[in-house]
Symmetry: C2
Subunit: 496 residues, 2 copies
């Protein structure tokens, strides 16, 4: 399909695709029932990203111009455009970015050169203790025998579990090395717990919003994810009770400390209430504490697991945010019989994590480097957090509201009513700034839209530049929305 | 429960447990309905392995002395021993070793000091090129920037995929780096392919016998595994046709070259027939080529994938057998759209494999070390293979038959009729020799029983000692079986 894309124009690329396809449908060049080229093919032909084409198709579908069928493709609708003409106001497309691989797309886009990316909640490479870690690897190489390269225990290297047990004391947790399972990052930890506890068709409760990898994981495996709304103290007890009654969930997944994406920490009182509710319903909890030690305004809240007298909580953390993600190492704390099941799942997932990285992390922890590293990254990220909050206050419209996180990597901005993060997303990328659209963090389309802005990866002056660009865009969009929403004939057609 | 275990006696430990519990049931000390201690608890009390107690309970259950219920425990039966008295001949217990974690148990037992273990098909640590690999790691450390510790691509490090693409040329495969997915060993490769292609309730065809990890994986996920019998040329075409017609499988998993556990390689003619059958039924194939390059009698057969003109075959290999298992690195070769799905599953399984090990393997391959390593390990394992075959001929009963593998790590011994590998297994371990019981490699109890003997881990003189011990045991068991099977009153009771 030959479309004329104006790369340097003001019009977002995906909208150009949308409009030209609409034109061809109207003109009869694309009759009802005719098949559109696959996303990948059209992207290649036009030299655009697949994401752009995907969003164009999603927009066309939402407005009733085309119909898409998984595995078959996209086709011009029977009465194209009919749906769009009936609607009193723009309707959000069916979460176009919430496709398999949105996380991968974010990771790829964020890696483009010169991009100011607030998209990925990743540790800043300049904080990596490369020199110290390199020496530690060399020591491991020189001290180890063949066991460094041989099969190891599925549960994880004993020396590493010993060190992890000591580390967890700093989080207020007394957990023996025998109760730990070393995993390939928090992502694998989540996957293993889900595989041990949840079957297809089961429901898992999460905070709404929640970790994107969790949303993707559930969709791809045909599992049911139900988001429980949060308030400023964390997950809402009344909504939790309702969700339990309604869905008989098998598991609650929560990020109580420096929650991703909102940055909210659960209050101590809320933790008690949550454990009380879960206890009454015998609901197991998976606590994701990946950001716990990254506290910028005083000590971090204690994990849920500390207050867990009933053995409800499986605790999970990883070194991807606190140290270096490329190590792919994290840890689960649990007890029999669940621990046995988790170890069994780890075994058929990948036998065990590599020995070299495990031993190196063990030695790094044993040398006592980690406490000093945490002190220095706390100061480092605090400065960036403060910079982002200040830039947001300077540049964002006053009706965009933002959380002020006391730890972790993310600010969570509620967009002014009527603004859509996917629209903004693609335009922002064209102007060299990336963020994570809020929709991606919800299993279902939220009533309001958000953006997640991670301040970890950029220095204060880049943060200022990027937020200024985003602020401009928001103001433009508000003006555009007002124009689009001017009263018209269609606004008076009753919804049926 | 206080039992008197004679550790140095001739009587196998698990039989001592069986007999003493039977005695207590007969004497009324353990009345009907009373609960036996959990396996773990009794094992701790008696200082025995859980496996021993597990097998004792399985034997008692098979003979009708006790009844076991998942999650509730084991209880003395209503009419204890009734079933046993009715039986004309010993009946096999319900695959006691085929429990979740049999692979873990093997790995643990094999790691006991002074054990001559033929149980685990693992590379010999003395072949590990530790020195060269250590230098390679140091080079990677000194040359890399922060990207070594940062998030990487889910599909795998581009430099590693480049090297893997070159390596695969030696196996006759022309596969672009873009068509490769780096995985955490073959175990993760299998897991990812199953998760992308197979849903609970679906049937997967495998060779009977097949890789143990596959059997465990399927059982724990409620998937259906159907074993297709083999002959000396590989999987049998007639049986494959029947299995396809009967089960409408979603996938065929095969190890065509130096098959684990039998050591058999599929003939070229059989490969063509197999691809023809799979093509007619549009049956996808997962080819596990983990042992491919370990050929001892001339060049290895080419992989199935080489002859795959229809895109049916997903190819999988790993560096665990050819190089070092602790690296946890392997690779899948596939094409879109399946490749996209595999990458997505890898992403939510563990994001990506660690950067450090990937880069180190890339550098190791780039330096050209691997071809020399393969030459030297082929000679090394050939000697051990020859030693084991010679020892088997010297010490095993003439009615035990054995495959002579032209590559890989395993000999596959068909036991004389009436002998049970679990019986032998525990007694052998008590005498300091471990092997892998044949039952474990079948999804269903096979008609005949086998043992898998891996020759990789021990020097020829240890192989000779271990095989002599096993040979003795086999001869003893044959004598014992003959005694037990002498005609008796019960042999005349008709089976109902």
């Amino acid at each position: 399909m030959q479309l004329q894309i104006e790369r340097r124009g003001e019009r977002p690329l995906y909208l150009q695709v949308v409009e030209q396809i609409q034109e061809r449908i109207r003109s009869g060049a694309l009759p009802s029932g005719s098949r559109l080229p696959p996303i990948r093919q059209l992207a290649n032909e036009l030299g655009l990203t697949r994401l752009t084409i995907h969003n164009a198709y999603a927009e066309l579908q939402a407005d009733g111009w085309i119909e898409s069928f998984v595995g078959r493709g996209s086709f011009v609708a029977e009465r194209p455009g009919a749906k769009g003409q009936m609607r009193p106001s723009p309707v959000l497309p069916p979460v176009p970015l919430l496709q398999p691989g949105a996380l991968g797309e974010i990771m790829r886009l964020a890696q483009q050169p010169h991009m100011i990316s607030f998209a990925q909640a990743a540790a800043a490479p300049e904080t990596f203790p490369m020199h110290e870690f390199g020496r530690v690897v060399q020591q491991v190489l020189s001290e180890s025998g063949a066991e460094l390269y041989d099969y190891g225990l599925t549960q994880g290297d004993p020396q590493l579990r010993q060190q992890l047990s000591l580390y967890l004391l700093d989080r207020g947790l007394q957990i023996a090395p025998e109760q730990l399972l070393v995993v390939g990052g928090a992502q694998q930890g989540i996957d293993i717990v889900l595989r041990a506890l949840v079957s297809p068709g089961d429901t898992v409760l999460v905070e709404g919003p929640t970790y994107l990898g969790m949303v993707e994981r559930m969709q791809m495996q045909g599992l049911k994810l139900v988001a429980v709304p949060m308030d400023e103290q964390g997950i809402r007890p009344d909504a939790l009770e309702t969700a339990i009654a309604l869905h008989q969930p098998r598991l609650l997944y929560t990020i109580p400390t420096f929650h991703n994406p909102t940055g909210i920490s659960m209050s101590a009182a809320r933790q008690e209430t949550l454990l009380d509710i879960a206890g009454r319903h015998a609901l197991p909890i998976l606590e994701d504490d990946i950001y716990g030690p990254l506290a910028y305004d005083g000590p971090a809240p204690l994990p849920l697991k500390v207050h867990d007298t009933q053995g409800l909580v499986t605790y999970l953390t990883s070194f991807s945010k606190m140290l270096m993600p490329g190590l792919r190492l994290g840890v689960i704390a649990s007890a029999s019989p669940l621990l046995d099941a988790l170890v069994a799942v780890k075994r058929f997932s990948d036998m065990h994590s590599p020995q070299l990285t495990q031993r190196a992390l063990a030695e790094y922890l044993a040398r006592g480097h980690f406490a000093g590293h945490l002190r220095s990254v706390r100061a480092f990220y605090r400065e960036r957090r403060d910079a982002m909050i200040a830039s947001l206050q300077r540049h964002f419209p006053s009706d965009a509201t933002c959380t002020v996180p006391a730890g972790g990597f993310c600010c969570w901005v509620a967009l002014p009513p009527g603004l859509r993060s996917p629209d903004l997303y693609l335009t922002a990328i064209e102007r060299g700034v990336a963020f994570a659209p809020g929709q991606m963090f919800f299993p279902e389309q939220p009533a309001q839209d958000y953006m997640r802005l991670s301040f970890a990866a950029h220095a204060p002056e880049e943060i200022e530049r990027g937020i200024a660009t985003l602020g401009e865009l928001l103001h433009e969009q508000i003006v555009r929305r007002h124009r689009l929403r001017a009263p018209s004939f269609y606004d008076t057609v009753p919804m049926v």
